[in-house]
Symmetry: C2
Subunit: 199 residues, 2 copies
C-alpha cells in the first residue's frame, strides 16, 4: 500500500488526500482536519496539497461532493431493493438516510454547510443527483394514487425537511435514550397519518 521507496512524484496525491481527509473527518470532525497533518501522514511536504486544492475549502467541497454521491448511491440502492406498498418503501428510504447520517455525521454536516460558500454549483448539482431516487419515489406514488395528490413539490419539501431534521436530532443526541429505529418508524408513521384526528 505505502510506497517502499517514496518517489518525488506521488502519482495519486489528490485521491489519497481525499481518502485520508475523509477518515480524519469521521474520527475528529471537520475542525480536527489539518492540511499539514494530512500531508505528513501521506509522507509529502506541507505545500504539496496546494497543487490539487487551492485552499482548504476546496478540499472540503470536493469531500462534500463525494459524500453526496455516496449518499445518492445508498439511497438508490435502498429504494431499488424496496418492495411492497408505499409506506414500506418510504420507511426503507428514511432508514437508509438515517443510517448514512449516523454513520457519517461530520460528512453530513459538511454536505449541508453551504453558508460558507454561496457559489458552488457542483455542490447543488450533486445534491440534486443524490435525491433523484426519493423524488422519483414520491412522483411514482402520487401517480399510482398511493399518496395524497397534493402539490408534489410541497410534499417533496416536507419529506426532505423531515428526514433531514430526523438525521440532525438523532446525530445531535436530542432523542435522549430512545432507539434510533423507534424514532424513525414513529416519525414515518406520523408523517403518513398526519396530525389531524382520523375520525
Amino acid at each position: 500500500m505505502a510506497q517502499a521507496t517514496p518517489r518525488y512524484h506521488h502519482g495519486n496525491l489528490r485521491a489519497e488526500l481525499l481518502v485520508s481527509a475523509e477518515r480524519k473527518l469521521e474520527t475528529t470532525g471537520v475542525q480536527g482536519l489539518s492540511l499539514r497533518e494530512l500531508a505528513r501522514e501521506i509522507g509529502v511536504s506541507h505545500g504539496a496539497p496546494r497543487q490539487h486544492f487551492p485552499d482548504k475549502q476546496a478540499l472540503l467541497d470536493a469531500l462534500a461532493v463525494l459524500g453526496l454521491e455516496r449518499l445518492g448511491r445508498e439511497l438508490g440502492a435502498a429504494l431499488g431493493e424496496a418492495e411492497g406498498p408505499f409506506a414500506d418503501r418510504l420507511l426503507a428510504f428514511v432508514r437508509a438516510y438515517v443510517r448514512f447520517a449516523t454513520a457519517h455525521p461530520a460528512m453530513l454536516a459538511l454536505m449541508f454547510a453551504r453558508k460558507d460558500r454561496p457559489d458552488a454549483p457542483e455542490l447543488l448539482e450533486a445534491g440534486e443527483r443524490a435525491f433523484a431516487a426519493p423524488v422519483a419515489l414520491i412522483a411514482g406514488a402520487q401517480a399510482a394514487g398511493e399518496i395524497d395528490d397534493a402539490d408534489p413539490d410541497r410534499v417533496a419539501m416536507a419529506l426532505l425537511a423531515t428526514i433531514q431534521g430526523l438525521a440532525t436530532i438523532i446525530t445531535g443526541g436530542m432523542i435522549g435514550d430512545r432507539s434510533d429505529d423507534v424514532v424513525v418508524s414513529g416519525t414515518v408513521e406520523t408523517l403518513l397519518r398526519g396530525l389531524r384526528p382520523t375520525r
Copy 2:
C-alpha cells in the same frame, strides 16, 4: 459606551465577550471567530478572555446556551400570542422557529453541534427549556382532541424533526427560489394532513 480611560479591570469582560462573539458569529460564522480578535476589539490583552472561558469551546458553549434561551423566549412569545385552532397555532410556532433560524443560522448550527462536546448537561437542559412551549402545545392539543391521540412523544419527535429540518434546508439554500413562507406553510399543511390519500 466605551470607557474613556480604559481601566485595568474591565469590569464586565465576560458579558462583553459574549456580545462581541455573537455579533462576529452572525457576520462571519463560527470559523471566523477568533478569541484574540475579540480581545483586540474590546481593547484587552489576548490572554484576558481565558480568565472567563478556559478555552474557546467554553465560549461557544455559553453562546449556545444564550441562543437556546433566546429561542425559547421567542417561541414562548409566539405561542403566547397565537390564537384559534391548533393548525393556526402550530403554524405560528413553526414560523417563529424558522424566523429565528434564518435570522441566526450560525447560532442555530452552534446550538445543535453537539458532536464535539458529548458531556454538556447545561446545554441539554437549556434545550429542554427552549422547547417547553411547543411541547405544551402538542400536549394541550392532544388533550383537547385537536390532533390525533397517538403517542405524544412520537408526535413531538416528528414535529421537532420537521421544524429542525425545515430550518436546515431553508438556511442551507436547498429550497431554491421558493419563498420561505410557502415552504413553511406547505410543510405544515402536509404535516397536518399526512401523506395518505384522504379518501
